[in-house]
């Protein structure tokens, strides 16, 4: 177990290095950072001076390694535009993104697990077909369009919910639904498939033969086994939600790091973009590892306790 985790950690670190290197090279192909820092009023000499000061005249790989070195020490530089330490800017906003992501995945689970379970109890029934229809529709619905439609209906016409900002908890309702529903089809299908398989298994027959009440059979015996892959998938989707929050945060003006990355890209604010890409990649890596560990923990057959 320990050796496995260690190996995964090393690979994860390598992945992060490659991802950040790629992003770094990419960003340096776009706008001239010296211009961004100098601003529109800067003269040519100022820009040259900035270039020398920041080391932009050095080759790209050298710049990357010095960035990497400082990053490992926790210094992600300063925003070109806001002149604020990147770490500070991110820590101000990351909480909102984490909150949104967490709420979104919880929403997805609250909808998909009961729906998938009910569908599995009566396969091919009306409810089952309805659930599968919802899944198909959900997968085709573009998130940002859904968000816009919700804003129009719930925010403008009916005025039930606020359409912008992040101060009240109500601000999070629409973004949560807009972000979360997209995971629902996959999770629901997996729950349904898992439950159908589990409900047909011998140990469920044994449980019924013991005279246990139906809800005990369903929840204690069936769901406990069927849910294992679902939880693992949910961990991966959580990662997608954290990374996919950019559009939602922008639409709802919810200023988390998704919104920040959009803002930074508009301003060619490379250090910020670089740091956020790294963060998103780390989320994914950590969450997939967590998914595997969850799998091993929940299924007594996999690991040796």
């Amino acid at each position: 177990m320990l050796a496995y985790t260690l190996k995964r950690t090393v690979v994860a670190f390598l992945i992060l290095v490659v991802v950040s290197a790629l992003t770094f090279s990419l960003s340096h192909l776009s706008a001239d950072p010296a211009l961004t820092i100098g601003g529109e009023q800067a003269s040519d000499e100022d820009i040259e001076a900035i270039r020398k000061l920041y080391g932009f005249d050095r080759p790209v790989y050298e710049q990357y390694f010095s960035w990497l070195g400082r990053a490992l020490a926790g210094d992600f530089g300063e925003s070109y535009h806001y002149k604020q330490p990147v770490v500070e800017m991110i820590s101000e906003r990351i909480g909102r993104t984490m909150l949104l992501g967490t709420l979104a995945i919880l929403f997805a689970l609250i909808v998909s697990i009961p729906l998938g379970t009910l569908a599995a109890m009566r396969p091919n029934s009306l409810l089952d077909r309805f659930a599968l229809l919802i899944a198909v529709f959900g997968q085709a619905l573009p998130t940002f369009w859904f968000a816009l439609m919700m804003i129009i209906v719930l925010g403008v016409w009916w005025r039930w919910l606020p359409i912008s900002g992040h101060d009240q908890w109500l601000n999070y309702v629409m973004p949560t639904i807009a972000l979360g529903y997209y995971a629902t089809p996959a999770l629901m299908r997996l729950t349904r498939a898992g439950m159908i398989e589990v409900l047909g298994s011998d140990y469920i027959r044994t449980a019924r033969a013991k005279g246990l009440p139906p809800f005990v059979v369903l929840f204690k015996h069936a769901l406990r086994n069927a849910i294992i892959p679902v939880v693992a998938l949910a961990a991966v989707w959580f990662g997608f939600m954290l990374g996919g929050s950019i559009v939602i945060e922008t639409i709802f003006n919810l200023k988390g790091i998704g919104w920040l990355s959009y803002d930074a890209l508009l301003r060619s604010d490379l250090p910020v973009v670089q740091a956020i890409v790294l963060i998103f990649a780390s989320f994914y890596v950590v969450l997939t590892l967590a998914a595997d560990l969850l799998n091993a923990y929940l299924d007594p057959r996999i690991s040796v306790r």
Binding site: V11, L14, I15, L16, V18, V19, L22, T23, L26, S27, L29, S30, A31, V136, F137, Q139, A140, L141, P142, T143, F144, W145, L148, M149, I151, I152, V156, L199, G200, S201, R205, G243, G244, I246, V247, T250, S261, Y262, L265, S268, V273, I276, V277, F280, A281, Y284, V285, T288
Partner: protein, 312 residues
């Protein structure tokens, strides 16, 4: 004891009648399956309709049935669609946008953009993913490890963010979007092709071919490929839908196709300013996206259902 039995979850065994054992021809079975599968039919019909729209749009324009989507008539900007009470212009059934371009024709031409992006991206990413996946699956060992690392690295990347950064770096245009998406969306292809190749590699007929001395590329092309076509088409439809949605999102944020190209995502961006008064400017392009993606998904699901049974 030979008996043709099937069993259900509780161990109940039923028997097939003689009629069920004697099967009708594979073609009529296939036809039957296609027509019984409503979602496949729906998806196929809608998809064909949209493709037809996209292909025939220039014809309609030449015939004068629809306007030129780039034609700006500033005097007639922000006309309302036909169901509105005031300010309706009969020449423009669905109204006009903020610079006076006809909305209906932009919607119809928008399908060209989406389909173009969907197909091209699917082809590019399909190619990349298949090459990577088959190589990894066939050679195994170190090669497999390297490809796995590449796949994991790609999966760790926040695609949307990096795509935006790429567009900033190389400029926003249809070509850049297609290339960037094509270079990013190959992961599912790679994973699926890898696992299929691994399974196929161990099948008997491949072993026989190798025993006969067939060279490696020959085996890959002639023996493994036909076996794999059905899974490939299913993943292709998924990625196509994915690409269309991603382009729309990118264009919506301004990091995709640029004005005046009639992309549905871009139309959503433009419509956002007017969302309080002209909700239809947001509803219509999004609905088109939804219908197209829905049709592709249903078609893909149906394709899988129809072809899967054939292989039993």
């Amino acid at each position: 004891m030979t008996d043709t039995t099937t069993s259900s979850p509780l161990g109940l065994r039923t028997q097939q009648t003689a009629e069920e054992i004697l099967e009708p021809s594979p073609f009529s079975k296939l036809r039957k399956r296609i027509f019984k599968n409503y979602s496949f039919l729906f998806g196929a019909v809608v998809l064909i309709f949209i493709i037809a729209m996209a292909l025939l749009a220039p014809v309609f324009e030449a015939l004068g049935w629809i306007h030129d989507p780039y034609d700006q008539e500033l005097a007639r900007r922000l006309q309302n669609p036909f169901w509105h009470e005031k300010k309706v212009d009969e020449a423009h059934l669905l109204g006009t946008d903020k610079v006076g371009r006809d909305y209906l024709s932009r919607l119809i031409y928008g399908s060209q953009i989406s389909l173009l992006i969907g197909f091209s991206t699917m082809l590019i990413s399909g190619f990349i993913g298949t090459v990577l996946g088959v190589t990894a699956g066939y050679f195994g060992g170190r090669v497999d490890m390297v490809v796995n690392f590449i796949i994991n690295t790609r999966l760790a990347m926040p695609v949307f963010l990096v795509a935006m950064a790429a567009v900033v770096a190389f400029g926003a245009s249809l070509t850049v979007v297609i290339l960037v998406l094509g270079l990013f969306l190959w992961d599912r292809f790679a994973v699926v092709m890898r696992s299929i190749t691994q399974q196929a590699r161990d099948l008997d007929y491949v072993k026989a071919a190798r025993a006969l001395g067939c060279s490696t590329p020959h085996i890959i092309v002639r023996e493994i490929f036909p076996n794999v076509l059905s899974s490939l088409t299913v993943v292709a439809t998924v990625e196509m839908a994915n690409a269309i949605l991603l382009e729309a999102a990118l264009s919506f944020l301004g990091f995709g196709v640029q004005a005046p190209t009639p992309s549905w995502g871009l139309m959503l961006n433009e419509g956002r300013e007017y969302m309080f008064f002209s909700a239809w400017m947001l509803a219509l392009p999004g609905a088109c996206l939804f219908m197209l993606v829905l049709a592709i998904n249903m078609f893909g699901d149906g394709l899988r259902d129809v072809t899967l049974e054939r292989e039993r």
